[in-house]
């Protein structure tokens, strides 16, 4: 090994252009930062696009879009209250069905399931989120609705005598708020379950062991020590599921019956904001009609934005933002 000249650094410094790599570093940073900036820009752009399209309807009709029920294209009245009602009710039904199931399976997977079963079952439940909405709708039309019409609805109405209550009154043809609620429940389930599972597993062992050491049964330990610790995360998961249910379009359109009326009965067909937009868009003739549809879209956008932001914030505050 010959020794390098004393000014070894001088020699290399001439060969290595200091600016070259510093410049490349700057270019790299600028490019990646620009990519990151696209996301906030996208949110703003979407908001702008939707509200610009909706503005004519808002300025002409104001809040009557969601307070009146009369959707009369020819006459220029656009009241989408039934759609708003339908969105809220179908999502509520979905949550009522999905939440206990999701939390139940989350508890099962985090506490009781044998280890070898945990991954496969977790995977199967998470897969529900990957199924395209239109496939759910297809299944809903040809499997769920006939099942409801022939078995479930008569059961609820006659066997359980719920037909006398306003919630299960009226003819039961199949396409209904109940059908939409059930499909939405299946679609929301994986979101609630996945988040709940993660926060439940993140509860430290010390919490569990302390409860058991005090003489609690396993169930009491879960109820009193584990779930309260994970509460805000679970609520965040429920809100995530809610956000999904509120915005769901295809599956709901295919099973809800698409009738613009407000009814207390779960057996009655209904409408949601998303399916309203989807159904009428291709036939929208005049600009006001289009704008009214966009206005409904804008309202949907705002509602889901708020719910999703709240959900993410809740989930983050529990698990430090490592969830997808």
């Amino acid at each position: 090994m010959t020794s390098l000249p004393v000014d070894w650094l001088e020699k290399d410094r001439r060969k290595l252009r200091v600016d070259a790599s510093a410049f490349s570093d700057k270019v790299y940073e600028a490019l990646t930062a620009a990519c990151a900036l696209v996301i906030p820009a996208l949110v703003i752009a979407i908001a702008l696009a939707v509200f610009v399209a909706a503005w004519p309807a808002f300025s002409k009709l104001g809040l009557s879009i969601i307070t009146t029920s009369d959707w009369d294209v020819a006459g220029g009245h656009f009241g989408a209250a039934p759609a708003l009602f339908g969105t809220l009710v179908s999502s509520a039904v979905a949550l009522i069905i999905a939440t206990p199931l999701a939390i139940g399976i989350a508890i099962f997977l985090s506490e009781f399931s044998p280890l070898w079963l945990r991954q496969p079952i977790g995977f199967l439940v998470d897969l529900l989120a990957a199924i395209p909405s239109v496939v759910y709708g297809l299944w809903g039309i040809f499997v769920l609705i006939p099942l409801l019409r022939t078995s479930v609805m008569p059961f609820l109405r006659d066997t359980l005598h719920l037909g006398s209550t306003p919630f299960f009154a009226g003819p039961a043809y199949g396409p209904s708020m109940l059908a939409a609620g059930i499909i939405l429940a299946i679609m929301a389930l994986p979101y609630i379950s996945s988040v709940s599972r993660e926060v439940l597993m993140a509860v430290p062992r010390s919490q569990r062991e302390a409860a058991l050491a005090l003489g609690a049964t396993r169930w009491e330990m879960i109820r009193d020590a584990v779930i309260p610790y994970a509460k805000s995360g679970i609520i965040g998961g429920i809100m995530l599921g809610l956000g999904r249910a509120l915005g769901e379009t295809m599956a709901v359109t295919m099973v809800i019956g698409n009738r613009a009326e407000i009814s207390a009965s779960l057996f009655a067909p209904g409408y949601t904001m998303a399916s309203l937009i989807a159904n009428e868009f291709s036939e929208a003739t005049n600009d006001l009609h289009l704008s009214a549809l966009m206005a409904v879209g804008a309202i949907l956008f705002v509602i889901t934005l708020i719910i999703n932001a709240l959900a993410r914030w809740l989930v983050w505050s529990v698990s430090k933002g490592r969830l997808a």
Binding site: L4, V6, D7, L9, D12, K15, L16, V18, S21
Partner: protein
């Protein structure tokens, strides 16, 4: 290879029972006897507002092994990382004072840290082979970024072989150069990292606790190769292991809370340390 030995000179005024056996071999290089390689002048290193290295002025000899010892958190790794400008890769890290390697200041205004790092090799505590590259590609990794010096393909495989030979790994991997580097054992991976650092023919090799995560047999192999490297490279090794420092190094520096307490030839340091704090550390009273 490792022998214990009698005290090999007249009893010093203050008898200190050697806590570590010093290996007798020659020639031992004492600081100040040969040309300096790394010279620092009032070097201070900060992490934000915390001072990790305080006003260290040290002159490390060329073609010798210098050990830096001290308790956890004393700043020895930080000091080491100032020698190849790795300290500044941490956000809010800062350096004051000067560091000269072979007469050239590495912190000058127009000096690129990348140029410095290409002439100073570093090996870390945990072996870090690049997992997506083969053994050959790993060793040649440092060459690829320095295209001006190593252009042809033929030269690359020769350089790879030379580096692997110097790292004592050639015989074990010469038939599987294209296999993934992660297939090697821990000790082999660490020697691979040493080969990777040596491939660019650096003048200085910095080792940050290189055997901390290795089994004793692999540690011994690494120590032997470090000892052999000193004829061609200036080696600075940070270590927690006092016996290792005694076995392998010619000079030893003792750091405590960021300050350089003592810097002497290894035999002096371990048999007759001048500072009471050094003595306490070496005899195991703390750290």
């Amino acid at each position: 290879m490792l022998q214990s030995t009698e005290v090999f000179r007249e009893k010093p005024p203050r008898l200190v029972t050697p806590a570590v056996q010093v290996r007798a071999r020659e020639p031992r290089v004492a600081p100040g006897e040969t040309k300096p390689c790394i010279v620092t002048n009032h070097l201070t290193a900060y992490f934000g507002y915390t001072t990790a290295v305080k006003d260290v002025s040290i002159s490390i000899a060329q073609n010798a092994v210098t050990a830096i010892i001290g308790p956890s958190g004393c700043g020895k790794s930080t000091l080491l990382r100032c020698f190849n400008r790795m300290h500044e890769t941490v956000p809010s890290a800062r350096v004051d004072g000067s560091v000269e390697i072979l007469g050239s200041s590495i912190y000058g205004e127009n000096t690129s840290p990348i140029a410095v790092r290409r002439h100073v090799g570093m090996v870390f505590q945990r072996p870090t082979p690049f997992p997506t590259m083969s053994i050959q590609a790993n060793v040649a990794a440092g060459l690829r970024v320095d295209r001006q010096s190593h252009a042809t393909r033929g030269a690359t495989s020769e350089i790879v072989e030379e580096a692997l030979q110097r790292a004592g790994l050639w015989a074990e991997v010469k038939d599987r150069l294209n296999e993934s580097a992660t297939a090697l054992s821990g000790g082999q991976q660490q020697r691979l990292c040493i080969a990777r650092a040596l491939a660019t023919r650096p003048r200085v090799l910095l080792l940050d606790e290189p055997t901390a995560s290795l089994d004793p047999l692999s540690s011994q192999k690494v120590e032997e190769l470090v000892y052999d490297l000193r004829t061609t490279v200036t080696v600075v090794i940070v270590t927690h292991n006092l016996q290792q420092a005694a076995r392998v190094s010619d000079s030893t520096a003792f750091l405590l809370m960021g300050e350089l307490i003592e810097f002497a030839s290894t035999s002096e340091m371990f048999t007759a340390p001048r500072d009471p704090r050094t003595e306490s550390y070496i005899t195991g009273r703390f750290g």
